[in-house]
């Protein structure tokens, strides 16, 4: 999937992945897609919950080895 912005959050521990995701999504326009790459295994549940609560759409998710990749569409 093509992303408008890629956020490298690999190696970062909680709460950095969601703090950085929030900052990155604020720089985008509604409808644009943010790709987040994280290695914190808690990020799967964290980012899913964050999207649900903030109203942004988690379009896709893959697990590439140790790296979790999320595509989030800004609402």
């Amino acid at each position: 999937m093509k992303a408008d912005l890629v956020l490298n959050a690999k190696g970062l521990a909680c709460p950095m992945p969601i703090v950085k995701t929030k900052k990155a999504i604020h720089t985008l326009e509604p409808g644009q897609v943010l790709e987040v790459q994280a290695t914190d295994q808690g990020a799967k549940n964290d980012l899913t919950a964050w999207c649900k609560s903030t109203g942004n759409e988690l379009v896709d998710f893959t697990n590439q080895g140790d790296v979790l990749v999320f595509w989030i569409k800004k609402s």
């Binding site: 190696g11 970062l12 521990a13 909680c14 709460p15 950095m16 969601i18 703090v19 995701t21 929030k22 964050w50 609560s53 903030t54 109203g55």
Partner: protein
Amino acid sequence: MTTQKSTNIILFSGDYDKAMAAYIIANGAAAYDHKVTIFHTFWGLNALRKDEHVAVKKGFLEKMFSKMMPRGADQMTLSKMNMAGMGPKMIKKVMKKHNALSLPQLIEMAQDQEIHLVACTMTMDLLGLKKEELLDTVELAGVAAYLAGAEEGNVNLFI
């Protein structure tokens, strides 16, 4: 989102690990676009102390308190396995290895995310802490300010 949700945390504890938990939740809540306030009281006030000595006029007992309490977040001790200072040294090493932010870094991030850092004035008086000794962005308040936030709040924690 119609109205902004809010998270209100009381940090009573002066333990490094408990303060870390408080600041991680606070920073997470800020990423949820909550209005976040950490209300520091009693030993939790030490997290807000500047790490350098600030010359202020104090009575004898207040001076003693200031000397005995940790000056700033980095000097705080662990709630378990402190082992006369060995524990904090070890946990800071492990945190670095796992890329976790230190407590001073978490506080800096909280300021960056515009989290309200509030100091309880009643306990400041008890422990003899003056505004000049605390971080510059700290707001002063009492129980009413906390309650006003908490009664409207969505997440309320006492740590």
